[in-house]
């Protein structure tokens, strides 16, 4: 709970920084605040306390995800000082990101549909603005508009769904909704069923699952790279935490209603995401499709109702987000001068920048799910939870997807060792190198010692 208050306080003070004139210290202040929030999250561990008349529940699941979200934001802030160089909009960028984080935390810890809705909206509205934060750039504007229109549309679905479920159950509380479904599991009212499917649609949009993924490639490509990095890590993690809670807590008793739908969505997401990524030449767009594909794997955990599936999802989001941040950070560095975001920017780097090349290899191998890196264990963990739940055929599809994934991740590795191109060496700051090293080492460490976070939920 303190975490939420601290985060909100940082967000507000960011807004006042301009007036009160402590703009210079803002970066330090934000980092310190995030560290503080992280500490309070850790201190809350195991308390399992409900707040605001049961509207928020800080159980270990939500605390774990909150911690992960804060760590990802910290890493993100270390990565993105460039983003805040524009003097006119420095403070609101900080505030928007922090408020988005507040929304993300609510999404991970709601126990009331209204809080879920609020969380999603706080997060989304900040992101609509951030996506369009390069005001003079046409693609950035396009991204913002697309994201906003489709996002608002999805929010509509969510609200409809919540309303219908309220109509059927008379409650916004997920425990009570769950109790209603348990009582009427043989004959739930069609109102509630329609509500469930509407919510499923809205959530599928937020996690960019096929066939609700069309916004993702354009938005990812058009937004400033740092914002894309934020979307594909923090936002995605929060959306999955919310979806997992919703379906495995509130809607578990009517599993048979949404089982097949999600099954089909998983298959479509994994296959379409991976196959389309193979054909991309723009690195950011490729990562967008790969993030769609990863959403497919993560969605498997929602389907697998086993004791281990929440841990599996948590591990997967952590492993995926860490390696994504690495990938985006490298891209940020490489494209800074030329503005070129194609896979070509990686060419010949193995000789000119062995450090960067090594980091990139680790990130790509982890995303591709090759042992002994975190990405492999994450995939294994999700696969084993899914197999335990009896979906062997789904795992076979996922394996096919991973195999296709190798094509595009390895394209980057192949480019690194290209012999024809000569690259000049690229300079980067100490903190940036440290960030790259930390995320890459984390990918190795989580792969070698998955027990560190594998069973904590």
């Amino acid at each position: 709970m303190t975490t939420l208050i601290i985060l909100t306080a940082i967000g507000l003070s960011c807004l006042f920084a301009e007036i009160l004139g402590f703009k210079k210290f803002l970066h330090v202040l934000v980092l310190a605040g995030l560290v503080g929030a992280l500490i309070t999250t850790v201190l809350d561990w195991g308390t399992n306390a409900p707040y605001f008349n049961d509207m928020v529940l800080m159980d270990n699941f939500s605390l774990a995800f909150t911690g992960l979200l804060i760590i990802l934001s910290l890493l993100w802030f270390i990565m993105s000082p460039v983003f805040f160089e524009e003097p006119s909009s420095k403070t609101d960028h900080y505030a928007l990101i922090i408020f988005a984080l507040v929304g993300a935390q609510l999404m991970a810890s709601f126990s009331n549909m209204l809080i879920l809705f609020l969380g999603i909206e706080i997060l989304s509205i900040c992101l609509y603005v951030l996506a369009g934060s390069r005001k003079s750039n046409l693609a950035s504007n396009e991204a913002a508009l697309k994201y906003f229109l489709l996002g608002a549309f999805a929010t509509g679905f969510l609200l409809f769904g919540i309303a219908l479920i309220y109509g059927a159950t008379g409650s916004f509380n997920i425990q009570q909704i769950s109790a209603y479904f348990l009582e009427n599991s043989s004959q739930p009212s069609s109102l509630a069923l329609a509500g469930t499917l509407l919510i499923l649609t809205a959530m599928a949009f937020k996690i960019s699952a096929v066939p609700f993924h069309f916004w993702a490639p354009d938005v990812y490509q058009g937004s400033p790279t740092v914002v894309t990095a934020f979307m594909s890590t923090v936002v995605k993690t929060a959306a999955f935490a919310a979806m997992f809670r919703l379906f495995q807590d509130a809607f578990q008793s009517i599993f048979s209603v949404w089982e097949n739908t999600i099954w089909v969505i998983v298959v479509a997401t994994i296959l379409l995401g991976n196959v389309t990524a193979v054909f991309q030449t723009n690195f950011k767009r490729m990562l967008a499709y790969s993030s769609i594909a990863h959403a497919g794997y993560m969605l498997m955990s929602v389907l697998a109702i086993t004791p281990g599936s929440s841990s599996a999802l948590f591990f997967y989001t952590a492993a995926y987000s860490l390696s994504s941040i690495t990938a985006f950070a490298v891209l940020l560095l490489l494209s800074r001068k030329s503005g070129d975001e194609s896979i070509g920017v990686f060419r010949g780097m193995a000789r000119s920048n062995p450090f960067l090349a090594g980091i990139t290899i680790v990130a790509m191998l982890s995303l591709a799910g090759i042992p002994p890196l975190a990405g492999f264990f994450a995939k294994y963990y999700i696969f084993s939870a899914t197999m335990q739940a009896g979906y062997t055929s789904l795992v076979l599809v996922a394996i096919l997807g991973s195999l296709i994934g190798v094509f595009y991740y390895f394209r980057v590795i192949i480019a690194l060792f290209d012999k024809e191109t000569d690259q000049t060496s690229i300079e980067s700051s100490v903190s940036f190198n440290a960030l790259l090293l930390i995320t890459a080492l984390a990918a190795v460490a989580l792969g070698l010692a998955p027990g560190l976070i594998a069973g904590i939920i």
Partner: protein, 488 residues
């Protein structure tokens, strides 16, 4: 502790090598020789009848039943010895090439060694899988960075092909894990204790078979192999052919036969059929090859086809022969690829028709060549003979026609190998071989241990057979007691 030292010493050395610049190759050579000595010290401590030894067992991820569990029985020990014996030779043979970025090159080779050793000593399925996959990355990068002209396409095909098999194996292993009682476990012994119904044994058989068959490779899953062998740098080819394909055979022996004996009994006839087809098919293709390296690649498919057929015969001689032949094939094929490399470096060609008359200018080289070549076609007194004799004997117990067809490999092998020898070494000197120089010290240092081992294993095979015999017997007992089939 000894096994962990054996496993992780190359990894530590690899990191040192990565940052050592031009001295990389010497450090790498020193490290692999030291590693070889460590493994020799294990031979002295090893008790032939002692079952699995040097066991270390710690939890890795306790909640998921994953442990760091390693140990060696006779079969593992022989393969560990093969790996540690060949690595210094492979590194020494690469001294003849000037590799760009030597630090990275030898780093990858040493990481590869760790992974290969890990595969041979793992007693936990998850650990086994991690090492199995880990071996793939360095060899992929070695072939990608230092390979021939068409390397990008070929190496990607190789990688995806083998990864496909591996992932199927992963599904099979996870499924087996879900069947283990209690909190689930990846222990090899808990897999052995499973009672799996026949229907599931069937799909498990095919999932595991595909994984191992692609690695070995067994016809018709061999298509990645000739291109990859031809296009890789010689050190990479040696690692692949000498050691890595043994991972597949070892996988059959350790993770397939004893785990799903009924499935193996049910389908071994089809597996043997594929092996025999592969033997004949690859031999015939080897016959018409003009490229010497490619010829060795195809002959290798024929040889490992016979090894795999021996495994699937499920007879004592067949399995025992396969273990022995893994060693001799490893030694011989590395020797052959090294000779092909010597020829290519001096003449800039591997085309049989463009070569000839080397004997006139380099009789010493020709002698080494004929010894390795005769070992590869299984002449008595060489290591190849012992292995093929046992394998064919075992296959004969399974079925006479299969043994006869597989026996063709001996005849075909003699034909294409001697034919290649005639074209390269005998006859008139060709333009390309005019200035062929004799072997230098470095090259002799690689070939002499190989020749010594060829004769040692050929004349006194008991030394090696005794190490593996109790383990092979154990294996047979597990297979037959679990399935209720009569043993012969």
């Amino acid at each position: 502790m000894m096994l962990s030292l054996l496993l992780f010493f190359p990894l530590l050395a690899a990191i040192a090598v990565l940052f050592s610049g031009t001295r990389a190759k010497h450090i790498a050579l020193g490290a692999t020789i030291l590693e070889f000595l460590i493994s020799i010290s294990l031979v002295f401590k090893f008790l032939p009848d002692g079952g699995t030894q040097f066991v270390e067992n710690y939890w890795w991820v306790q909640g998921l039943g994953i442990s760091y569990h390693v140990g060696m029985d006779g079969i593992s020990l022989l393969l560990v010895l093969l790996t540690t014996f060949l690595l210094p030779l492979i590194i020494l043979s690469s001294f003849q090439h000037k590799h760009k970025n030597p630090g990275l090159f030898y780093f990858l080779i040493l990481v590869m060694q760790s992974a290969l050793l890990g595969v041979f000593v793992s007693l936990d399925a998850f650990l086994f899988y991690v090492f199995w996959e880990l071996a793939l990355i360095p060899i992929y990068l070695i072939c990608l960075v230092w390979g021939g002209k068409d390397r990008v396409r070929i190496t990607l095909k190789f990688f995806i092909y083998t990864l496909f098999g591996s992932l199927l194996m992963l599904v099979a292993l996870i499924w087996l894990w879900t069947q283990t009682p209690g909190n689930h476990s990846f222990e090899l012994s808990s897999f052995y204790a499973l009672n799996i119904d026949p229907a599931n044994q069937t799909w498990l058989f095919w999932a595991l078979f595909l994984a191992f068959a692609i690695k070995i490779p067994i016809f018709p899953f061999h298509t990645w192999q000739p291109d990859t062998y031809t296009d890789s740098p010689t050190a990479g080819t040696m690692l692949l052919s000498g050691i890595m394909l043994k991972m597949g055979i070892y996988g059959l022996l350790r993770w397939m036969l004893p785990v799903i004996p009924e499935g193996v009994h049910e389908w071994s006839n089809i597996a043997i059929l594929l092996c025999v087809i592969g033997i004949v098919y690859a031999s015939l293709i080897a016959w018409v090859q003009k490229d010497f390296k490619r010829l060795i690649a195809y002959s290798s498919i024929a040889h490992v086809g016979l090894i795999a057929a021996g495994v699937f015969s499920l007879s004592f001689q067949g399995v025992h022969g396969s273990v022995f032949q893994m060693l001799s094939h490893g030694v011989n094929v590395v020797g052959l690829f090294f000779i092909a490399d010597i020829i290519e470096r001096r003449t800039q060609t591997r085309d049989l028709d463009a070569l000839g008359g080397i004997r006139l200018v380099a009789p010493g080289f020709s002698t080494y060549f004929i010894i390795v070549l005769l070992a590869s076609i299984a002449l008595p007194l060489t290591n190849g003979f012992v292995g093929e004799f046992l394998l064919l004997n075992g296959l004969y117990q399974y079925s006479t026609p299969a043994a006869v067809l597989a026996g063709l490999t001996v005849i075909f092998g003699a034909v294409y190998m001697l034919n290649a020898y005639r074209k390269i070494v005998l006859g008139e000197a060709a333009a390309s071989t005019q200035s062929f120089t004799e072997l230098n010290t470095n090259e002799k240092l690689v070939l002499i241990p190989i020749v010594v081992l060829i004769f040692w294993m050929g004349i006194y095979p008991d030394f090696f057979l005794k190490i593996s015999e109790p383990s092979v017997k154990d294996l047979r007992d597990i297979i037959y007691s679990a399935s209720g089939f009569s043993s012969n």
